[in-house]
């Protein structure tokens, strides 16, 4: 494989402002196929905005984003087609409230990929099994726990056979005892070789699963490298104080 096809997400010179507020001030990130990248940082650091730019849920003000060979920031690109290859998992799950679990997994397969009913349901059931929720296919989202909803959301994204998966704080809205199930599914995905960009506060997960950890603060990438380096032995003062606060919340003064 050549180096060019090896890179699946390439972000360069990315700027994003909401009105006067500049959230991203020049971001460069490169994700290789099969890599797991965890993005950590304090709230307001721009990490979710960065993730949402990668499938153009937020439109950048400047910079270039290439996903799977197509430059999605280009005016003439078919963004709907590009998004098919990018799975997204949200903090608030966002399951379609009026559809059963199975229909949540088949609706986009059928309407977007034009798969037949049988094929779509087969794919959906495979993915439900993968997240351990085969028995819930006829439930409505409101009948599931948060952890179950998030696993369904992961299965829904997987049903589109994405090349890369984006996770936007997937466990932040969950009760603590439900976090483990979701992380276990994500860990399994990583082991199967899925390319993943994960915005997270779960340092243990980042430490164990990530190939690269990105620490963001104030709209820039402050520090990046392997977890042992960024989390284990942070060089930058801002990284050190953030990790001190996250890893030891009771400790005052950072």
């Amino acid at each position: 494989m050549t180096a060019a096809t090896d890179v699946i997400v390439e972000v360069s010179g990315l700027h994003k402002a909401f009105g006067e507020l500049e959230v991203l001030k020049g971001i460069d990130v490169e994700v290789k196929r099969g890599q797991v990248i965890c993005i950590i940082g304090p709230s307001g650091s721009g990490k979710s905005t960065l993730l949402r730019c990668v499938n153009l849920l937020e439109e950048p003000n400047a910079g270039k984003i290439v996903v799977n060979g197509s430059e999605i920031t280009h005016e003439d690109v078919d963004i709907d087609a590009a998004r098919r290859g990018i799975g997204m998992v949200f903090q608030s799950f966002n399951l379609f409230a009026h559809l059963s679990v199975l229909d949540n997994l088949t609706v986009a397969q059928r309407k977007v990929l034009k798969r037949g009913k049988e094929e779509a349901e087969r794919v959906a059931r495979d993915n439900l099994q993968k997240v351990g929720l085969s028995d819930k296919e006829s439930s409505m989202p409101a009948q599931l726990s948060g952890g179950q909803q998030q696993r369904v959301a992961i299965a829904r994204a997987l049903s589109m056979n994405p090349e890369v998966m984006l996770f936007d704080e997937p466990t932040s809205a969950l009760d603590p005892e439900l976090v483990g199930d979701v992380l276990a599914v994500m860990r399994q995905l990583a082991e199967e070789g899925m390319t993943m960009l994960v915005v997270t506060h779960e340092m243990q997960f980042a430490r164990e699963v990530a190939d690269t950890v990105l620490f963001m603060d104030g709209g820039v990438v402050v520090e990046q490298g392997v977890p042992a380096q960024v989390i284990g032995d942070p060089q930058h003062e801002r990284t050190q104080s953030f990790l001190a606060r996250v890893l030891n919340p009771n400790h005052q003064g950072g």
Binding site: L57, D80, R83, M88, N94, L95, A97, H98, M140, M160
Partner: protein, 268 residues
């Protein structure tokens, strides 16, 4: 001596029951029940209303309402989407239409269609059902447009983001994800609108009637001319309830059924 909370509550409830009993007794003693019976519900007169009150009047009321509601719903959805459009002129037109027709009495709109259309377009002759459908549709569309718009805006933003992130186009997301949820949210006000429309259909008499085209209100007015007392009105009133009460029951059942399909905040 001070009463406990429990004692105070039961004393208060007891007083209300006694008051109710007194009112009922006074009415029962003072009212002339035979006269009231003759005036409001004379069985002989009521019997004469049948079967036409059902086969003609009730049927016409239902047909007019259904036609008006169908047109109103279609126009209302179109106007709601126009109000949310990114194209300025669409928004302005929808805004103007809604403000105009929501502000006018239904009576004026019926008159405008009954009198105005023949003057403005002398060579067209609208079938009467079409005129009624137009009038009721225009009246209800202005209200429904605002209801539907509110429903669309009440669907959480995350639903659209999820749809878009799965590769659905904006139009596809709207049709497949947003509109079905919006209608679940606005079921109660839509049922309200349908019930109001059932009653507004009584204005159909303004567009001229032959006996075969009378709906409930017109039918009872005609019957009133021939009968002593108000019995025809009571019969017509009961017929309206025959329509509206089942509608309420259907609404309740739908709300129960779709309760689980209404978007929650998204948290656990």
């Amino acid at each position: 001596m001070a009463l406990t909370r429990r004692q105070r509550r039961s004393a208060f409830r007891g007083a209300q029951y006694i008051l109710l009993l007194v009112i009922v007794l006074v009415l029962a003693v003072l009212a002339d029940w035979t006269r009231i019976g003759h005036a409001f519900f004379d069985l002989n007169i009521a019997a004469k209303q049948f079967p036409d009150v059902i086969t003609v009047a009730l049927k016409n009321t239902i047909v007019f309402t259904a036609l008006g509601f169908a047109l109103g719903l279609a126009l209302g959805l179109l106007l709601a989407l126009m109000r949310l459009s990114s194209v300025g002129p669409y928004r302005w037109f929808a805004r103007g239409y809604i403000e105009f027709f929501r502000g006018l009495p239904a009576l004026l709109i019926f008159l405008a269609i009954g009198v105005g259309v023949p003057i403005a377009f002398p060579n067209t002759h609208l079938p009467r059902n079409v005129s009624i459908m137009l009038a009721l549709g225009i009246v209800s569309s202005a209200y429904m447009a605002e209801t539907i718009r509110a429903g669309i805006q009440a669907v959480p933003r995350g639903q659209v983001e999820a749809a878009r992130s799965l590769g659905m186009s904006p139009t596809r997301s709207m049709i497949t994800i947003v509109i079905p949820q919006a209608f679940r949210i606005i079921l109660p006000p839509l049922a309200n609108e349908l019930i109001m429309l059932t009653k507004d259909s009584s204005l159909a008499f303004l567009l001229g009637t032959t006996p075969a085209q009378q709906e409930l209100a017109q039918f009872s007015r005609q019957a009133l001319l021939q009968a002593k007392g108000l019995t025809p009105i009571v019969v017509a009133g009961l017929c309206y309830l025959i329509i509206t009460i089942p509608l309420s029951l259907v609404q309740q059942r739908l709300e129960k059924k779709y309760g689980a399909g209404v978007p929650a905040g998204g948290s656990v």
